[in-house]
């Protein structure tokens, strides 16, 4: 096992002066985050949310305006990039175009002054692991995107870094390869057990790969937790919408007890259950998250809802409609048996067994 590190961000902020005098952009504000040894944490958020800045501060390309970054107990906040012992996979792969695949992988060991024989053995091992051994002599531009990706990962791990950084590593691959690669990436990361920070704006990638997801917006953590937690119990409508499809509908609290909260949504009763229920009182208006796949519905000529748009997605069908005035989507995986609806068709929904989640109303 490689000796890996626990990463700690302690009150880290990064300000950039903007071009207008006196204005400042806070790319990251007061970030506190720990990545436990061997875990893979993804930073997820829209562009400009500060995720890349966080990654670059850990790599050493940027220096925090305030706060500190530690690897185990060592403060590395101001340590130069080249003495941090970090591996990184770049969005563009950043393979050295004038070196062969093998030379690319061997570069880090050569820089570290590892003896030739030892280096050769380690390069062979890693190339074997990544299944890139048979194109060792090729130039990077002779490889496909997926192969380049493997070389980039091999190059990043061969030096046995204490932390591995991924900067949107799969965004240049086509959809199918991306899904394959994220399984492979995760398998290799788990096998090597390297503490990893993974930046992405693709929620399905984050859900599939992470031990823990950190959702960011405007340089501030919105929520952190396992993929399931973040998906099922979003802390805000932003998080709900950013992870998968979410319907945010207005509702009125009917009853609030320790066992659960009953909410009236569009004349139906739905229930929220959790160990950590929000403090709401009966009669209060709330915003509720309904995941499209959880809304049960049936065709009903007398139904209150009208299909406004039909989107065929192959394995399922999306119906766009309005629930309590809010634009909503519901999806049907069983359309092959049940038949499809058309625009203008009426239906009714049943929220009795739909898991419901209350989020704070948008400011």
């Amino acid at each position: 096992m490689i000796p890996v590190a626990t990463v700690t961000f302690d009150g880290v902020s990064k300000l950039f002066p903007s071009h207008d005098k006196g204005e400042v952009v806070a790319a990251v504000s007061d970030l506190n985050l720990t990545i436990e040894e061997g875990k893979l944490v993804t930073l997820l958020g829209p562009s400009g949310c500060g995720k890349t800045t966080i990654l670059r501060m850990l790599a050493g390309f940027e220096t925090p305006t305030s706060g500190s970054i530690r690897l185990d107990d060592t403060d590395v906040t101001r340590r130069p990039v080249n003495s941090r012992g970090i591996g990184m996979v770049f969005q563009s792969y950043a393979l050295f175009p004038h070196m062969s695949v093998r030379e690319n992988v061997a570069y880090g060991l050569s820089v570290a002054g590892v003896a030739k024989a030892d280096a050769g053995r380690r390069v062979d091992e890693v190339m074997e692991l990544m299944q890139i051994g048979h194109y060792a002599k090729r130039a990077p531009n002779q490889l496909s995107g997926g192969q380049q990706q493997r070389v980039a990962l091999a190059r990043a791990v061969v030096t046995e870094p204490r932390v591995l950084l991924f900067d949107e590593p799969l965004s240049n691959l086509d959809a199918q390869l991306r899904e394959q690669m994220r399984v492979d990436l995760r398998a290799i990361q788990q096998r090597l057990g390297i503490t990893s920070l993974y930046v992405t704006h693709d929620q399905s990638e984050a859900l599939a790969i992470a031990d823990e997801i950190v959702v960011l917006k405007d340089g501030v953590i919105q929520q952190r937790g396992s993929a399931r937690e973040v998906y099922r119990s979003p802390a805000s409508s932003f998080v709900a919408r950013f992870l998968g499809k979410a319907n945010i509908v207005p509702g009125t609290v009917v009853a609030s007890t320790a066992a659960g909260i009953v909410v009236d949504v569009d004349g139906q009763r739905a229930r929220m259950t959790s160990d950590d229920l929000p403090q709401v009182a009966a009669g209060e208006s709330v915003s509720c998250v309904l995941r499209p796949e959880n809304v049960a519905f049936r065709t009903d000529p007398e139904g209150a809802l009208t299909v406004e748009q039909v989107v065929f997605q192959g394995s399922y069908i999306e119906y766009h409609l309005r629930i309590a005035g809010a634009a909503c989507t519901i999806i049907d995986h069983e359309y092959a048996h049940r038949g499809t609806l058309n625009i203008g068709d009426r239906l009714s929904i049943d929220l009795t067994n739909t898991p419901l989640w209350i989020v704070p109303a948008d400011a």
């Binding site: 806070a26 990184m88 563009s92 393979l95 175009p97």
Partner: protein, 566 residues
């Protein structure tokens, strides 16, 4: 991102940014040292001399003397020279841009035959000293010229003056326009033409309303570049200007014949102003209006124009232009092997023998000094380019603007500035080889910088970051990653610097000495004393040396690339 409107935070962020700059120095002490040395050299060899000329323009032998400045500015010969220079520059720039555009258009966007040939001929003037063409026009159209006297029987043909100058400069500087416009037309996606014709436009309408407006910035930029080159040109106006005096020649005369340094300085300043202005327009105004971003990869260009009504006239025009260029160079080559031009056309090596007997010292000097200047240009240029694009050291602006100034400033002002600055004082260089090398390096530095910039633009910064993350020091990254990737830029700037240094005249004419005379000055002397055949032989030797050097560099590049592949 959060935008916070607070002066206190703003101060914090700016302090942070400043701190980061100082940290850049701490992590890169070597690069910082190099940066300091470069900035200091640039200040000594660019700012100091130009400052000296400006100072000397207002300070006469009796101290601060604005009246002399006034007298000079009102003097008729100064006005005439200024007017002449500007008129010549405008005419040459217009004609050279037109020639460059026609050739570039034919070569890049039509199905014209013989493109490779036209391309090579269009570039021919680059590898020769510009005044070879002047020599050719004298040989062809002069008093005893091959065409004027032998073919037409004119006994008193006058080749000297504006008309010849425009022709010569047009041919000499058209490669600049050709390359500039060609780059632009090559990177223009042919789907734009397709889009236009899909909307029903005729080929003429597409040309006029799509291609021409898109090419306009490149045309304007070519105009400005040739304008600056024409103003700077010394050799051609000296040789065939006759009574048509220009600023560069007038300044030289004032200093070397009349010994009036102040007048010379004033003329040089008058030369500097329009040059810098044109250069700034080219760089900042035209540059911003460019629609096509040159990515280094040629766009998807497919040939759409193959109709004979387009290609035939274009072929005729391109052939005519090429014919003239080849005629001019051919004449010089032929004459160098003829006994007495116009009288006895028998083949002879006498003129070459004369040169070898008389000694090759000036030719050797030129080659030696150019060979010393070339690596300096490449190393300094690429380092400056790297520092300016990849690091933000405090004070980079001085470096950036000084090198731009060195490119825009005509050789005349650099030459005069060097005399003024390095004749006395702490750094006496007059009469040494160093002062000539200094001028050669400075005049070519900017081209190497631009070459480096263009190459670096194509290198993803993440590639350097990847090296750093893997533990490489900045020196190691530069050596193992950046330098190998800059190789194409190294070779192009070396080729340019060597060619230009070997054929330069306008700055070094002020700096030569008994010990260090140059071949271009020798050629000028031979023409002035009417030994045209000897001058022609010198020119041929010079062109052969340039071509050999280019071939050598090309070969070295190919060899290095091949070794890489193995």
């Amino acid at each position: 991102m959060q935008t916070i409107d607070s002066t206190e935070l703003g101060a914090l962020a700016r302090r942070d940014e400043r701190a980061q700059r100082w940290r850049a120095i701490r992590t890169d002490p070597w690069l910082w040292g190099i940066f300091l040395v470069l900035t200091l050299s640039v200040a000594i060899f660019i700012l100091l001399p130009i400052g000296a000329v400006l100072k000397s323009a207002v300070i006469g032998p009796d101290g601060f003397d604005l009246s002399r400045l006034g007298d000079n500015l009102l003097a008729s010969h100064v006005w005439r020279a200024l007017r002449n220079s500007l008129l010549l520059a405008v005419l040459s720039a217009t004609a050279a841009t037109a020639v460059g555009f026609v050739m570039a258009y034919g070569v890049t966007r039509t199905g014209m035959k013989g493109k490779r040939f036209f391309h090579l001929v269009a570039l021919l003037p680059i590898v020769s000293p510009p005044f070879v063409l002047s020599l050719a026009i004298i040989l062809l159209f002069g008093r005893s010229g091959v065409i004027s006297s032998d073919l037409l029987g004119l006994s008193n043909a006058n080749v000297y003056g504006l008309r010849s100058l425009v022709i010569i400069q047009t041919l000499a500087f058209s490669p600049l326009a050709y390359l500039n416009v060609r780059d632009m037309l090559q990177s223009m996606d042919s789907s734009l033409e397709d889009a236009s014709s899909s909307m029903g436009a005729s080929q003429w309408q597409t040309f006029r309303r799509v291609l021409l407006p898109l090419a306009a910035p490149a045309l304007l930029s070519s105009f400005m570049l040739v304008f600056v080159k024409s103003l700077e040109d010394f050799g051609n106006p000296m040789l065939i200007g006759g009574d048509y005096s220009t600023l560069a020649v007038e300044a030289y005369t004032q200093i070397t014949a009349v010994y009036d340094m102040q007048s010379g300085a004033i003329l040089a300043v008058l030369l500097l102003l329009p040059s810098v202005l044109a250069f700034m327009i080219q760089r900042y105004w035209v540059g911003r209006r460019s629609y096509v971003t040159v990515t280094g990869k040629p766009g998807r260009t497919e040939i759409r124009l193959t109709a004979a009504k387009v290609t035939v006239p274009l072929t005729i025009v391109c052939s005519a232009i090429s014919g003239v260029i080849l005629l001019f160079y051919g004449t010089v080559v032929a004459v160098s092997f003829m006994k007495i031009v116009g009288v006895d056309s028998l083949f002879t090596l006498d003129h070459y023998r004369y040169i070898f007997d008389r000694g090759l010292s000036t030719l050797q000097n030129s080659v030696t000094l150019a060979a010393v200047a070339t690596p300096l240009v490449v190393i300094c240029g690429l380092l400056i380019s790297y520092v300016l694009t990849r690091r933000s050291f405090p004070g980079s602006a001085i470096l950036k603007w000084s090198t731009l100034l060195s490119f825009a400033a005509p050789g005349t002002i650099i030459g005069i500035g060097y005399i003024l600055s390095f004749n006395s004082g702490p750094l006496v260089l007059t009469g040494t080889a160093a002062i000539i090398v200094g001028a050669m390096v400075l005049k070519n530095l900017q081209v190497a910088i631009e070459g480096g910039n263009n190459q670096l633009k194509q290198i993803d910064p993440a590639i350097e970051e990847a090296s750093a993350v893997m533990g490489a020091s900045n020196i190691r990254t530069f050596r193992s990653i950046v330098l190998p990737l800059l190789r194409p830029a190294i070779f192009t700037s070396a080729a340019y610097a060597f060619t230009r240094s070997l054929t330069t005249l306008s700055a070094v004419i002020f700096l030569i000495s008994a010990n260090w005379n140059l071949v271009t000055v020798t050629i000028l002397g031979q023409v002035e004393s009417s030994r045209l055949s000897v001058a022609a032989a010198y020119c041929v030797l010079l062109i052969v040396i340039v071509l050999a050097a280019l071939a050598l560099m090309q070969g070295a590049l190919a060899l290095l690339t091949r070794r890489r592949d193995q």
